[in-house]
Amino acid sequence: MLSVLANDLPALQVVVPLVSAPLCLILARWPRIVWLLCLAASWTSLAIAIELLDQVLSGGTISYAMGGWAAPWGIEYRIDAVNAYVILIVTGIASVVMPYANQSVAKEIPADRVPLFYALLMLCLTGLLGMTITGDAFNVFVFLEISSLSMYGLISMGRDRRALTSAFQYLVMGTIGGTFILVGIGFLYVVTGTLNMADLAMRLPEVTQLRTLHTGFAFLVVGIGLKLAMFPLHLWLPNAYAYAPSTATAFIAATATKVAVYALLRFVFTVIGPVIAYQDLPFGEIAKVLAVLGLVTGSFVAIFQENVKRMLAYSSVAQIGYILLGIGLATVMGLTASMLHLFNHALIKGALFMAVGCLFYRTRSVRLDDLRGIGRKMPWSFGAFVIAGLSLIGVPLTAGFVSKWYLVQASLEVGQWPLAVLVLGGSLLAIIYIWRVVEIAWFGSPSTRAAEATEAPLGLLIPTWILVLANLYFGTHTGLTVGVANLAARTLAEGLR
């Protein structure tokens, strides 16, 4: 029976989490089974993702025709090194977050909503995977909305009432972004008459000078920019991350923006083509300027936050700046750095938000004042935070160092040393905001909340430390990440120059 399914892995990648979502509702009476089901679904997804990456690395691009309708007419799932790599990131994070969810969700979500929470989480995973795997431009929009709608629900389940307002704010901005993407795809369709990405890429060179195409591209960049929290469009992100339940924050922060970056890469490099984006239109300059602005302001604002989750959220805005900078450079080295940072930042932010979730599990607060002295009460949780924080700063031997190293090299390679200086400057700012937390949480005298706290349960600590150790592992064993990231970058850069 399994051999029958061997050729259908691309479909199963999306269908497995999709099926588990309604099952969560049907099995709602048995929350434990719901959790086990989600665990099994996310681990199966990871296994499929590993197998797919393996197949792509050995056999090249995989194309899968949905419903048996051949490519330009039907919906095609198309997997190359780029999206196999992103799928691995998303499913990997889901597989680590899901064991963590059990205890964290039981504590933070009212019992009657727990199955709904899991259903939304699985739908979110479905949407993100679908967005990544599909080779059809309109399908991207559909899956984007599936993931976004479930994210609004996930965020609104936070305990604080501000979770509701931040979910609403995200909904308004996210919908505008989604609609912009819809308009952009419409313009691409109207000049070519096709929605298949490979087909679009083939036909667009005939119409490069049309203003409709340029306008459509602008709509796409702004729409996706909203989703990936590109600097002036990031306003939804800090609140959404700060007030969502810990599990949701860890999952969304580590995956959602990454998939949006992937969508941007796919549209810029595969569909529109770098010639139009970088030579006819000033996409490279815009990306570089916004990246630098996001990098600097995100890091600066993070320093002044009183809420640790909000601080990490602003740091995410800065980190997206790094990723965008690599894209703006438009060299193989720059893209490699971006792809690497997609992976490494997912590990870093996943670990950081999970560590903060451990602290929150005991103290019921993420305000710096309340976390005073927590470090000595919960050494394992806080230790995880510190090591992941070092990785965020980019200390050698951690994953964060590898991607920043490549980014600095990429900037120097094209002779733009000010960018390299800015990258290092961003790291200095990261030292300040991470050190601020360490100083208060380790050296401060315990607050009333911290005094009562004990170490977080193993169910939370083990997944957190798996990610922390992954940070250290991928900081020293760069073969897999750099190898695949480089291959992905070269796949993207085929049309370059």
């Binding site: 309109f138 929009f141 559909v142 909305e145 709608l149 609004y152 629900g153 609104s156 009432r161 501000r162 509701l164 307002t165 979910a167 609403f168 909904l171 308004v172 919908t175 505008i176 989604g178 609609t179 819809l182 308009v183 419409g186 369709y189 109207v190 929605l195």
Partner: protein
């Protein structure tokens, strides 16, 4: 006369601008949702306009008819309408919950309450 011939696109642009303006300018969350829906609907009109084939009829198989409008944009927009309905439902339910938690659906009053604690 070209301006008048493209009237459906102009309607789409007008609706999109009105919708966006309401989202930005209105302080009431329900009005924001109304604006958002309007913005989405303008895109529906844009897509349907794209699908028009001159002299074409509705894309349902009829005997003796040679030319049909392009059905694909219609199908796409059916999906987008469903997305729009879902978005509006989620947004409205969020507003109800916000109204219960804050006792108001006015943006400035919500901000005041959050600042104070």
């Amino acid at each position: 006369m070209r301006f008048l011939q493209l009237y459906n696109y102009e309607i789409a642009i007008f609706l999109a601008m009105v919708g966006l303006y309401i989202v930005v300018s209105s302080g009431n969350l329900v009005k924001k949702i109304a604006g958002l829906s309007m913005f989405q609907i303008s895109v529906f009109i844009l897509y349907i306009s794209m699908g028009v084939v001159e002299g074409g009829t509705v894309p349902i198989l009829i005997e003796g008819v040679q030319r049909y409008s392009n059905p694909l944009p219609h199908v796409l927009i059916l999906t987008a309408i469903v997305v729009g309905v879902a978005t509006t439902a989620v947004a409205l339910s969020l507003v109800i919950r916000i109204n219960e938690a804050y006792g108001t659906a006015e943006e400035d009053e919500i901000h005041e309450q959050d600042e104070s604690f």
